[in-house]
């Protein structure tokens, strides 16, 4: 267990959380503690996004004055925005938690990338396979993910403790009933649990909590003039030279921000002037589209999330 700051002073300058956020916070802390107490070797998946940021913050709160008794794991596809990687390294250091980074080297060697291979193969190999490799490599028996039930239809049916049989298989028909808050943390060797402490949070809750708690987020969530190209009706940011322009495409600078962050050529930006958390929350309340709308990997067909999950995607 890491060093402790047992004398951390309260922060009276921060406004009190609303009852609603306080309740969500307590529920998530209970779930996170349950995993630390009930499993031998848990890990927290850290995707660098706003949800991961809240989840990590909750973990730090859950164990205070101890440090979270598990490492963070980032599955790096090598196609994350540069801002994201910078943020990741700063945060790990700031919170004093151990960060593991795993890349599917085999996929990299095969030359898998989102531009030439297409979004679905890239996601399958670099994210899903990469994740399974890392879980096997370290022998983790439980992995936290920041998914929320309000994100997508098949997520709405997901358990908080989601059972995966050996080989990381998610069978929606073979999930354990989850009654009260009596989570079943028992697994046999080779079986694992994915745990979603933010299940009952909404996107708006995440932003309001981020603001209330002063949690740092990747600057890409805030609007700024950025180089983008318009492709299939979506605004794609060119984060580096690896993304070639198609005939007729022009790179232009527009005020954009991201609602959801994934691999950079697969995450579309939205036009926005929201440069602060207050702006983002105001924009969200007026919004008429879901955050995953900008995720190119979801649009193939509406059941695509369920398919990816069966394959082991988070």
């Amino acid at each position: 267990m890491a060093v402790v700051d047992a004398s951390r002073p309260p922060n009276p300058s921060r406004p009190a959380l609303s009852d609603h956020l306080r309740r969500l916070e307590s529920e998530s802390i209970e779930i996170i503690r349950e995993v630390a107490a009930g499993f031998d070797n848990p890990v927290m998946l850290y995707s660098i996004g706003k949800d991961s940021g809240v989840m990590l913050h909750l973990a730090v709160k859950a164990f205070y004055p101890s440090k979270p008794p598990f490492p963070l794991l980032h599955v790096d596809t090598t196609w994350k925005f540069q801002d994201m990687i910078r943020h990741r390294d700063t945060i790990a250091e700031q919170y004093g938690v151990k960060l593991l980074v795993h890349t599917n080297e085999e996929g990299l060697a095969r030359g898998i990338n989102p531009i030439a291979s297409g979004s679905s193969l890239h996601t399958q190999v670099m994210k899903t396979e990469g994740l399974k490799q890392a879980l096997d490599k370290y022998g983790f028996d439980a992995a936290f993910g920041g998914a929320r039930r309000d994100e997508e239809k098949s997520r709405a049916k997901e358990r908080i403790f989601s059972f995966r049989s050996a080989g990381h298989v998610w069978d929606p028909r073979n999930q354990r009933p989850e009654l009260w808050r009596l989570y079943n943390t028992r697994v046999n060797k080779g079986e694992t649990i994915r745990v979603f402490p933010l299940s009952n949070w909404t996107e708006l809750d995440i932003w309001e909590y981020t603001r209330a708690e002063g949690i740092a987020v990747v600057p890409l969530y805030f609007a700024a003039p950025r180089p983008v190209v318009e492709r299939d009706g979506m605004l794609i940011m060119r984060d580096d030279e690896r993304m070639p322009l198609l005939p007729g495409e022009v790179e232009e600078t527009r005020w954009v921000r991201f609602r959801s962050l994934g691999c950079y050529p697969l995450s579309a930006a939205v036009e926005s002037r929201a440069t602060s958390l207050d702006d983002i929350i105001g924009e969200m309340r007026a919004s008429r589209t879901s955050e995953r709308q900008g995720r190119l990997i979801d649009v193939d067909e509406s059941a695509s999330m369920e398919k990816k999950k069966r394959e082991g995607y988070f």
Binding site: Y64, K157, P172, W180, S287, E306
Partner: protein, 631 residues
Amino acid sequence: MDGALIEETQAQTEAPAAAQKGLLRFLTCGSVDDGKSTLIGRLLYDSKLILDDHLAALERDSARHGTTGEELDLALLVDGLEAERQQGITIDVAYRFFTTDKRAFIVADTPGHEQYTRNMATGASNADLAVILIDARKGVLTQTRRHSYICSLLGVRHLVLAVNKIDLADYDQAVFDQIVADYRAFAETLGFASITPVPMSARHGDNVTTRSAHTPWYAGPTLLEHLESIDVESDAAARPFRFPVQWVNRPNLDFRGFSGTIASGTVRPGDRIVVAASGRQSAVTRIVTYDGDLAEARAGQAVTLTLADEVDIARGDLLAPPTDRPEVADQFAAHLIWMGDEPLLPGRPYLMRIGTRYVPVRVTTLKHKVDVDTLDHLAARTLSLNEIGLCNLSTASPVAFDSYADNRETGAFILIDRYTNATVGAGMIAFGLRRAANIHRQAMLVSRADHERMAGHKPATLWFTGLSGSGKSTIANLVERKLHERGVRTFLLDGDNVRHGLNRDLGFSDADRVENVRRVGEVARLFVEAGVVVLCSFISPFRAERRMVRELFAEGEFFEVFVDTTLEDCIARDPKGLYGKALDGKIANFTGVSSPYEPPEHAELILATPALSPDQAADAVIDELERRGRI
């Protein structure tokens, strides 16, 4: 309803008003095709919480899977999984979130399909209110009764009776009144605090979020108005303090805290507490959180407590006020909802999770099962998937609890299968059994150590398991003779012999086999306490029961000896002529032939015959006892 919604009003206001209102968790239940999913879709749609890209997907899907022709099929908004969408039924619990300017809601959409009672119970376990859907054309159905009973059993206090598809009954008040009267007559005994009937059409939106012009005779609230205004604030904070210790927070030698979520009541520094199971007392010194120490914490808050004294406390303990303690017992009566594919076997050990504690448990008596359609009590020997019964349970060690009626948090438990780890049951404790409260263990003047000293060796149980005719008794007899010759005190319990006396009342059904092994295990334990090496020769075909016996003993006292003879060899040998009869169908439930044998996974010793002669096998057992320091 117009203008009542978050994105319309709150986008202009600074503080999110909804965030300050109490959350309402409710579930919807009803029979297949009563329109549950449509109702939730309607709530989301009318609340303008369906976002543009979801609406576009809905339009695509309505054309492909929809059942409403040209109209949007709102049910498709919530029927999440691909498989069930194609079958047109909801097969699992889905959670939906919506917020109006008055309140935040979490809706559990639970299936109406008969075989999925367990999902409904799951949804009900965390709900404050239930919306029971009734098809106006069909009235109160068997499943309406079933779902109402489950809600009542799980402690849901408030009901909305949604008489749906009223449009298809010509908006007829007489139809509505009759259904309400029927339902009230049925639900009288179920103890709901409120029942609010609403005539509605989820498909067309009548009385869901807006008042219907078609039901001028109805003066009550719309569904949403009712949901927004009902007071379900539980009295969790007013009940006695209960704190299940979840995790011991020990960052260094100077800090020792107990982390957990307050199940009920409130706590302040200075409050006296007792560890329910051990009776040890102390006082709370600090309520520690990341945001600073608190002067008070109440039900639902996740905190870390420090205490004035060094008290032995671990995960699973329950802290309570010394003046208002929970019951502590190892035997109690509880309602049990069976959720496993394999039926409940009384006598078989399961794992119980209650609060933050896991403890081995057996159902000792199944008093009756409940016919959920008539609420009649029926005699039963087992519970199958989706059946509900009242049982007596016995835990391996005493646990702290309140009755479920007094406290949903400390009176609920789940049962877990010890091999698959599946959640197979959900229980609600009715009351502790006086037997446990009044029978205390007698302290002995001659201790176990005294017995061992006199014997000059350590006791042990050698548990020989294997198929009938595998050679268990032969080997066990040889081992006993060799031990006897060395001056070791022994006793042999043989399966056939025991069935002539102690267990003469038991047959060969699965339930009786379990009880047979349990009794023998207890007898062996008495001998071990007397310092004896006990040899038990029993087919004992089920892993679960062998594990139950193993857990009666301390580490190192129990030796599972697997006499590993193939079925073919046993049949060829057939010393008692039993295989011949069994293969002819003259003996029912014969292990290896018509009843399974589950070989051990972690036996201390495996004796492979006929590779080993009986004498060599016996020597191997003696060697193992020596190697482990028992003799």
